[in-house]
Symmetry: C2
Subunit: 220 residues, 2 copies
């Protein structure tokens, strides 16, 4: 405990509780009591609850952002000149995510759940913070997607990307619960990595769908 291991204890506790219960539903007192730390420590070290939320995201998003950047570098290096395919882009994303160093066995679930919350519960301050700090790797991912789907109009691509994000964020943010339900139902155990491996072909097929806008089907 060289210096302020209090800070890490708070971050660890906050990360888990935020992932379990969301931001508004997690009080500072829950966090400090789980972290076995004085209540005032949060405001002393982080300033406010909102800044603590930012710190929790920064701690895992900064290395993740760097990992992604490397993966995209590799991707572009491999396919010299021509645009990387959709499948390879999505796979690179899935692999980078799976390979993130985990603090414990629940690491990936927490990571995913927080990413989901970032979309879902983003109040003004969080959205602003994320846009300011991490727009670059996100923009790069978007550029790669654009080059990989030249057959789509800008509008088509826009909506399909939202569909992809939705399927991913939603599934991953509830991955723990969904895995449990499946096990109770069919008795099959599933890893987050397997979900990702199932998600990729689903998303790729959706992105490549021939029909852009569904017309009412005709009678049989």
């Amino acid at each position: 405990m060289a210096q302020s291991d209090t800070v890490d204890r708070i971050l660890d506790a906050a990360e888990v509780l935020f992932a379990e219960r969301g931001f508004a539903e997690t009080s500072l007192r829950m966090i400090t009591s789980k972290a076995k730390v004085n209540l005032a420590a949060v405001n002393y070290h982080f300033g406010s609850k909102n800044e603590l939320i930012h710190a929790v995201f920064a701690r895992f998003l900064t290395p993740y952002s760097a990992t992604l950047d490397e993966a995209f570098d590799e991707l572009e290096a491999e396919s010299q000149g021509d645009a990387p395919s959709l499948d390879r882009i999505l796979w690179a994303l899935a692999e980078s995510t799976a390979r993130m160093p985990q603090r414990n066995d629940k690491g990936i679930s927490i990571f995913m759940r927080l990413l989901g919350l970032a979309y879902t519960q983003s109040q003004g301050h969080l959205r602003k913070f994320l846009e300011e700090e991490y727009s670059e790797p996100f923009g790069r991912f978007m550029r790669l997607l654009k080059e990989a789907t030249p057959e789509l109009s800008a509008v088509d691509r826009y909506w399909r990307i939202q569909f992809m994000l939705g399927a991913t964020a939603f599934t991953m943010s509830s991955s723990d619960a969904l895995i449990d339900i499946l096990e109770a139902k069919i008795g099959v155990e599933t890893s987050v990595q397997e979900i990702a491996a199932r998600l990729v072909p689903f998303l790729a097929a959706g992105m490549k769908a021939a029909d852009k806008i569904q017309q009412p089907p005709h009678g049989h």
Copy 2:
């Protein structure tokens, strides 16, 4: 204002505010002040905040559930004996949703956003309430999906249905914001119906994807 138009005023205000801000972030005082109604009226007419949330959902979910049931009846009547196709099931769902009677022009967005919140912010009491009251049309939809995708194993189907739900709930629950972003970006106006019409082929293609689990792509 024959009898308790207070009840409807509360429901109207609560519906909008819940859709805009979520449940925990919307206080009874916000609701009663928007509804121009006394604070105590909520507890008098509904009992508690949780029961008010239930009432908001019941008001639109009960007619929606009936509409869905009719649409599924038609679907099964049309395709006498053989299972309705995936495209037709999804289309029936999208159409039923679009045709729901709206209280105002923002009706569909609110409706969608609440459905999204039901998945996303479902605390214990709401999940329990929804399961107890509306499991039947949901189960019927699942059965139809199963019959329309006999080529999928139970596990494959389970995950792909989650992906569909995610893409839909996520996109629709943010439809307002996404429509605004697209308009600011490309200057195109979009209706919720158009989003649904774009979503259907995306989901159908994903459900029918040949690969179930992605293997690492080989070098180019």
